[in-house]
Amino acid sequence: MTAALAPAALALGDDALVLSHRLGEWAGHAPVLEEEVALANIALDLLGQARILLSLVGDEDELAYLREERAFRNLQLVEQPNGDFAQTIARQLYFSTYQGLLYGQLAAGDGELAPLAAKAVKEVAYHQDHAEHWTLRLGDGTAESHERMQRGCDTLWRFTGEMFQPVEGVDVDWQKLEAGWRESVGAVLERATLTVPEGPQSGAWSAGAGRQGLHTEPFGRMIAEMQHLHRSHPGATW
């Protein structure tokens, strides 16, 4: 690997790792068994991506379990708490649409991340399909499910702008990515009888911050839990 690739592999690897952990928190809490299984499967796909990406940078376990909060380069979107099921689906919709477009562009190029992107983009298509299906079902469902789905989309909207901040070493057309994302997400929300949130896509205090190692308050608790076992029992295996 070339050293220039490290920031890119770290950013994309941390996105996958952190979202994988968040989705794993649904184990034992999902509304129905099929969703328990679906979210676990999506988490596993993401963990697979994370392992490959972080291994390009260094030792995957050290990177996942021994880094301090400020050393993580993931988007703030993926670290946001699960909330209710609708909020988790909103996060999935926003992120899987982004990841599908990003990997799609990377796969079409000839950079070092192209082989992984070509493989992952096919898996992400299923994640996106799952998120869109649920967005439609909840948005165009009961008054209660509609309201919750709208709230989930609104709550996370201000974390979406960060996705389109160029990442060092990720050779894609960011403007095209953003336009594609807005079009795709907008179409799904419209079909789901939901409103595209109108607020800013980032707060002045948070623009692009996750990629620079600044994270929101819930992230500290999340990584404390994620790293607890490894830090208490260094080198533990089973």
């Binding site: 299984v37 796909d45 082989p115 070509a118 096919k122 299923y126």
Partner: protein
């Protein structure tokens, strides 16, 4: 272009006959995950293996099983290398593999559209129990990432469908 030697072909048959740890009705050759076997010297062999899904936990068991099979075949030094490119696709499952899946009660994957992305859900999946094409999707994800859960409208039996990737 290096052609496969007789010994490499023989070792490929040995490695390829190892059963898939998750779906033991299939061999690794039928699943299409065995990419190459290279002999680098007397008793020194490298095997190229590709994962079905990036997060497939079975890849480590597959590697160990291949190493064991080749050791038992008299090769002392075996290394298994994971390759990502070209990405595995369900189109890599052999015709014999598809037949065995159906026999095992799992609807085999449909051929892939050429533009990428998931196969349109309108393409029918045949019930492995009664052969009816009148089946419905229950869940996009089943016991493993590679399967979806469906139900046959004709015979009412639920079944797994090896979904297209």
């Amino acid at each position: 272009m290096v052609t496969e030697t007789l010994l490499e072909a023989e070792l490929r048959r040995v490695a390829g006959s190892v059963p898939d740890p998750e779906l033991p009705v299939l061999t690794l050759e039928e699943l299409g995950v065995l990419r190459a076997v290279h002999v680098f010297g007397p008793g020194r062999v490298e095997v190229e293996l590709t994962p079905t899904y990036t997060g497939c936990p079975a890849i480590e068991v597959m590697s160990t099983d291949i190493e064991r099979a080749l050791h038992e075949h008299g090769i002392p030094e075996v290394s298994v290398r994971t390759v990502l490119s070209p990405a595995w696709s369900t189109d890599d499952i052999s015709a014999e593999g598809r037949r065995k899946l159906a026999e095992f009660g799992i609807a085999p994957p449909r051929p892939q559209p050429t533009d990428g992305g998931p196969v349109p859900l309108t393409l029918s999946v045949r019930c492995p129990h009664c052969g009816s094409t009148d089946t419905e999707l229950l869940s996009r994800f089943s016991s493993t990432a590679c399967k979806a859960l469906r139900r046959c409208v004709s015979c009412r039996e639920p079944f797994d469908h090896f979904k297209e990737l």
